[in-house]
Amino acid sequence: MIPELGHFALVLAIFLALYQAILPLAGAAWGRNDWMILARPAATAQFIFVAIAYVALTRAFLLDDFSLLYVAQNSNSELPVGYKFAAVWGGHEGSLLLWCLMLATWTLAVAWGSRGQPLAFSSRVIGVLGIVSVGVLLFTLLTSNPFDRLLPAAVDGVDLNPLLQDPAMVAHPPMLYIGYVGMAVPFAFAVAALLTGRLDRDWARWTRPWTIGAWVFLTGGIALGSWWAYYELGWGGWWFWDPVENASFMPWLMGTALIHSLAVTERRGIFKSWTVLLAIAAFSLSLLGTFLVRSGVLISVHAFASDPTRGLFILMLLLLISGGALVLYAFRASNLEAEGGFRLVSRETFLLANNLLLVIATFLILIGTLYPLFHDAMGAGNLSVGEPFFNAVFLIPMLPLAVLLGLGMHTVWQKMEPGALFARLRWIGAAALIAAIVYPLIVFGSTSVLTVIGVGAGIWVTLSSLIEPISRWFNSRAVRLTRAQWGMFLAHLGVGLFIVGASVTSAFNIETDRAVRIGDRWEVAGFEIEFRGMRTEEGPNYVAEVGEFDLRSNGELVASLRPEKRIYRVQTNPMTEARMDIGLFRDVFIALGEPLGDGAWSVRVQYKPMISFLWIGCIVMAFGGLLAATDQRYRRTVRQRVEPRTKVGVTAEQGSH
């Protein structure tokens, strides 16, 4: 009965979303206030009904209602309760419902957060979000209904994929989806601005915190996924350039470009049509990602069960939503006029370069991801580009970006003397270069050109992000940094730490596979490893072979690690649970491979220098984004006109960012 109520709530949600799409947009077009004021209540009601559907599905999981096909396919009576919550989004149908819930939540937040904006504008934003909701809800209901019954009911379920039975995997999908779906908000703002024909600095100021908010979640979600891949797939790799990873990374890159382009539009009233295009592109790439993951056009380790009808539906959705926005853009973008110009050496130039490089990187990754498809569709047979392609095409635009980033942060708007910039940053540049040459040689005893470039770029970005906050800290007369400025420096610091971590870990990572027996001792990267024994342990829904390993450095015990090989009772494929001794400057990673007979096991030990910097970098980036999104100027509820600004005001602002 309750599942039917959930199903019914989903149907009602579609009608509410239709209402939320049509009335406000029509009201804004014909100037009917009485229609426009219905946008907010409609969005609220839509959220409530999607939430009811979601709760109904969660309840079915908690009560082991295997008369629902989806529950029977993704859960089991022995599954621990915590994972039953996560199992709701463990398959295609439920994760789509989560998508709908996230979209409804963003819409609700925008509806109530936009009360300071003109009614015609906020109504259009809510209306556009309503159109997207209608599309996704229809998709769920028509092709992927999670409430389909299974008659007769299954005795027990086939269990959640064991790969997903992991704490990081509980947090990863919702986090990623919040970010992914959140890109719908800047998209809606962009379309609303095109419809209104009014795109000014106020518009950029309204859009920016939402964009940064979505970006923060996307950053966190991607980092969690990467961390999960690192320890759960048992391979110690942290990024595979898998189509699904790329599908989340491309909106992130576009979102990053959008945040920077919005900064220019907000401060200087230029780059308008470019900003709008980025907003449309970022969400289009989110939709494209959904299409790639769920249609089965590309093979991936994470692809959901593929179904051509679903693929066709999302493709149509993508073409209608993005295509509609782009057609509107084609007609309206020429009306968006720049409010001023800028000189060659100015913050605007650096941000433009940032945008171009990020877009180029996204484009190359898109081509690499879709290449097999193009090749195939043109009848030329299958061909694929692998990791080497992605590493190369990603590094080519990213290294200049890192160099420009340090310069750009210290450049003021409109115009700057190149000499002043040079005077300010020469010592940092020199320090970064020296550290990049010396550090790998001292710590690891070897180096390469690529390492020097990577480490140098990372240290350069790190130092140039730190210098301003530190010098202000020691100068009591200096103007205090605003929260947005803190956010910017922190986010860039995160980028710097990330680059250092990625460069060092890929250059000096040591991987060994060995066949060992109990009692064997061997050495990896200066650590002595002892295989002490094996035992069998019972988990709630699996049996594990647990290896006991001691890790010693100079005779002192550093850690005892117990990597596992689990066989889940229902889905019997073996799962590798690697264990790590985590340190700030190195992880030591042990994973059990296959039993080789005669008590021998293949054991993979990896030494990963500075891999923690990857995750720390991402956390710092996300935290910086959080600070920037909650800056005071975005929290004004009363509308304030930013222009006209006096000449004095502009000058005062040049020193800040």
């Binding site: 289009s284 249609s295 782009l326 299958n382 296959e594």
Partner: protein, 175 residues
């Protein structure tokens, strides 16, 4: 509006490709090679680089050509099944794709070697000739060197029983 229309045109072109792509299931894609002679190759043997592995080694028996690499997580997942197939007498040749020799040798030593021989395709030319989509990928090649089947993604007992065994039976009946 002309230049502002470029993005929508790009989207439509992409959409066209996707529409075609939907009709083509990448796992069960009909390789254009099926029914045709296997592309000729001659590559150094992975274990003994002074020797060669070439198309002529495959003549006269049904063989599998398995594309693998140590960088490919899914290859490890199918490895056990390949070992059991090899034990049952099926000759499997490896195409070690864009890999490092040391790692590949270590892999075979630690995990076991199911291959009669592995050809080292360091540059990836042969993989291109075979239209390799991504590792792991397995080709069934007939005694007359005709490509009979291609499977993308790990080989499993089910896939073996349903997509390979019937073909071997059918083609050995004909001879």
């Amino acid at each position: 509006m002309s230049r502002y229309a470029i993005p929508v045109i790009i989207l439509l072109v992409l959409g066209g490709f996707f529409l075609r792509g939907l009709g083509l299931n990448p796992t069960y894609i009909e390789s254009p090679l099926i029914g045709k002679p296997a592309p000729e190759f001659s590559l150094p043997d992975l274990i003994d680089p002074s020797a060669n592995v070439s198309t002529s080694d495959l003549v006269g028996q049904f063989t599998l050509l398995n594309v693998w690499g140590t960088w490919c997580p899914e290859c490890r997942n199918e490895h056990d099944f390949l070992l059991s197939l090899a034990r049952s007498g099926m000759p499997i040749y490896g195409l070690n794709w864009k890999d490092e020799r040391d790692k590949a040798l270590e892999w075979l030593e630690v995990l076991g070697d199911p291959y009669v021989a592995s050809a080292a395709d360091v540059i990836g030319d042969v993989a291109i000739d075979f239209g390799v989509y991504g590792a792991p990928e397995t080709f069934l090649i007939g005694p007359d060197l005709t490509v009979l089947q291609k499977h993308i993604s790990p080989l499993t007992p089910e896939v073996w029983e349903t997509r390979f065994v019937p073909l071997i039976e059918e083609h050995s009946g004909k001879r």
